[in-house]
């Protein structure tokens, strides 16, 4: 097991190296001088020179990269030129809404997807099964930001059940907090639900046709027990992978969706930085989300090994 973990972690090193180089280079693909671009047209030559020194742009490029990576490893993502604060602090300040939204989105996805997937597999070819296939096909064609807009239009404007914009931190009470996140969470979770439901269905279908299920039935095990305890448990591995992947997708999706509902998360942070060309923030956010994404996938992979010993033997 330790060998497996070690191997899996070591395989991340080249990936993270490429990620860091790609994100580092983003500043350098800007047409023209980055410092001049950040300062705008009215900057004087001296100001540009000063910022160049501050950003370390005078150094040779490999030295710049080395300095940057060393800082990043020490948890220093640089300083935002416009907000005059460390990027790490800015991200931490904006993290709560994004994280809350992603978690709530995952909950929405699972509540919708798992029961529907199980029923669709159990009553294969029924109306529920067929509508699931059609809905999931549609679900994959509707990007989450669009679903967010449509929900805003329907629920927020016409029915006026829920607020369509704004945010309350979790300290203001759980319901106050969640109230603002329900619509964004549905827009995020619904698409993931489509994927998870399809995965649940196909994974359950495979297991329901196996001999040990037949044996369990013939022994007189109650039907719901057969489905939940025997089948679902064995069908859960592929479902878990999809859930893991979907959580990564949800964190990224949250970045886009929160800008629609004016949630002050890290998505808002990066969007506000685009026009200002606040590269430190852009690089910081992209790097941070990528790390989260990579780590979640690592954890899922390791869990996979814990749950199913066949996996770790195979991969050795």
């Amino acid at each position: 097991m330790i060998g497996y973990i070690l191997k899996r972690v070591l395989s991340l090193i080249p990936v993270l190296f490429v990620v860091s180089v790609a994100i580092f280079l983003i500043v350098h693909i800007t047409p023209g001088e980055p410092a001049a671009v950040i300062l705008g047209l009215e900057a004087t030559e001296d100001q540009v020179q000063e910022l160049r020194e501050e950003m370390g742009l005078n150094l040779p490029i490999y030295e710049q990269y080395f300095n940057w990576v060393t800082d990043v490893i020490h948890g220093d993502l640089g300083n935002s030129y416009f907000m005059k604060e460390p990027v790490t602090e800015a991200i931490m300040k904006h993290l709560e809404p994004t994280l809350s939204l992603a978690i709530l989105g995952e909950i929405v996805a699972l509540i919708l997807a798992i029961p529907v997937g199980i029923i669709a597999a159990y009553r294969r070819g029924s109306a529920i099964d067929q509508s699931l296939m059609v809905i999931s096909l549609l679900g994959m064609a509707v990007p989450s930001f669009l679903l967010g807009l449509l929900l805003m239009l329907l629920v927020g404007v016409h029915l006026q059940w829920l607020p369509v914009a704004g945010y309350e931190p979790i300290q203001e009470g759980l319901w106050e907090h969640i109230k603002y996140l329900i619509l964004p969470a549905i827009s995020l979770g619904a698409i993931q639900a489509a994927l998870v439901a399809r995965m649940t269905r196909s994974s359950m279908l495979e297991v329901l046709n196996t001999n040990f299920i037949k044996t369990a039935r013939s022994k007189g095990v109650k039907e719901y027990k057969v489905v939940i305890k025997h089948a679902l448990r064995n069908a859960f591995l592929p479902i878990l992978t999809v859930i893991g992947q979907s959580f990564g997708t949800l964190v990224t999706g949250a970045v886009v969706v929160e800008t629609i509902f004016n949630l002050p998360g890290i998505g808002q942070l990066i969007i506000n930085s685009i026009e200002r060309r606040d590269f430190a923030v852009i690089q910081g956010v992209v790097l941070f989300v990528t790390l989260v994404y990579v780590l979640i996938n690592l954890i899922v992979d390791l869990l996979y090994g814990v749950i199913d010993p066949r996996v770790r033997l195979e991969r050795k």
């Binding site: 490429v18 800007t30 064609a141 449509l150 239009l153 990564g248 970045v255 990066i270 989300v289 990528t290």
Partner: protein, 309 residues
């Protein structure tokens, strides 16, 4: 002599018949897949709108009319007007040209680059290690974030959207081409080519490349759909096509600001996005089934789900 002629004649008719049967079989296979038919029809419709639509429009997509601001759909303005009094249908049709145009460009560029990278990676071991680590790294960065970062650096314009999204999707294609090329390069006939002394260029492009085309086409369809979503998202976030040029994402961005007053500015461009992505996904699923004659239908369905997940 007569005998021989007769035989050639017979041979030709049999051959023609066989060809005819084959054609019929292919047509039946395509027709039997209704979803794929629907997908191709939607795709063709979008292409036609993008190519010829703008010349059929009677309004100017840029001309602002203060008196006509935010008018609901009517017989004059079929889909209503936007916040500057511009005809929404015209804007959406011009936007189709932009969105589909970017989709086509990104799909072609990333397919070509991905094919070259995938083929050479599958052929040379050392190169494979380097190229695939780069692809892994780029794919580890969530696509839309990478695109946002690239757009922030390059600045908003249609060309830059194409560059940014091509960088995002090329690794995707490269991976698919590489994995199918790896299978083909182990085949006996490639070994035979080596034995005969064929050069690597001839083997790669003459014998491996044609066999990777079908998975490439399937993947390209999905990349097309993803490009449409990503372009819309970028423009919506203000990091894509700069105003006043119309694109579906741009119209949605403007629509969000007036969502309480003008539902049509969100619903109609949204419908265009949904329909085109749905059409492309159906086409991709159908093509995958079509190119994959060995497996039964049921198994294929399962497979497509896994890829989708």
């Amino acid at each position: 002599m007569m005998e021989e002629l007769k035989r050639t004649d017979e041979y030709l008719t049999i051959k023609a018949n066989l060809k005819k049967q084959q054609r019929q079989l292919i047509m039946r296979k395509i027709r039997s897949n209704k979803f794929m038919m629907l997908g191709s029809i939607i795709f063709l419709f979008l292409l036609i709108v993008a190519l010829f639509g703008p010349s059929l429009m009677s309004f100017d997509p840029y001309e602002m009319k203060v008196t006509e601001r935010l008018k609901a759909p009517s017989s004059l303005h079929l889909l209503g007007t936007d916040e500057y009094g511009r005809d929404l249908l015209t804007r959406i049709v011009y936007g189709t040209r932009v969105s589909i145009g970017i989709g086509v460009a990104v799909t072609i560029i990333s397919s070509l680059l991905g094919m070259i990278i995938g083929l050479y990676a599958s052929y040379y071991r050392t190169l494979d290690h380097i190229l695939m680590r780069i692809c892994d790294g780029l794919m580890a960065i969530p696509g839309i974030l990478l695109a946002i970062a690239l757009m922030a650096a390059l600045g908003p314009s249609a060309t830059n959207v194409i560059i940014a999204l091509s960088i995002v999707f090329t690794p995707n294609i490269a991976r698919v081409v590489r994995s199918s090329a790896l299978v083909i390069r182990e085949q006996t006939y490639i070994e035979a080519m080596h034995a005969q002394g064929a050069g690597s260029f001839r083997i790669i492009w003459g014998h491996i490349a044609p066999n990777t085309i079908s998975p490439l086409i399937v993947q390209a369809t999905f990349v097309f759909a993803e490009t449409i979503i990503s372009e819309a998202a970028l423009s919506f976030l203000g990091a894509g096509i700069p105003a006043p040029d119309p694109s579906w994402g741009n119209i949605l961005q403007a629509g969000k600001l007036v969502i309480f007053k003008a539902w049509w500015m969100v619903v109609y461009p949204g419908l265009f996005i949904i329909i085109s992505v749905l059409g492309l996904n159906l086409l991709g699923d159908g093509l995958r089934d079509y190119f994959d004659p060995h497996t039964t239908r049921k198994v294929k369905r399962r497979k497509s789900k896994r890829v989708g997940g």
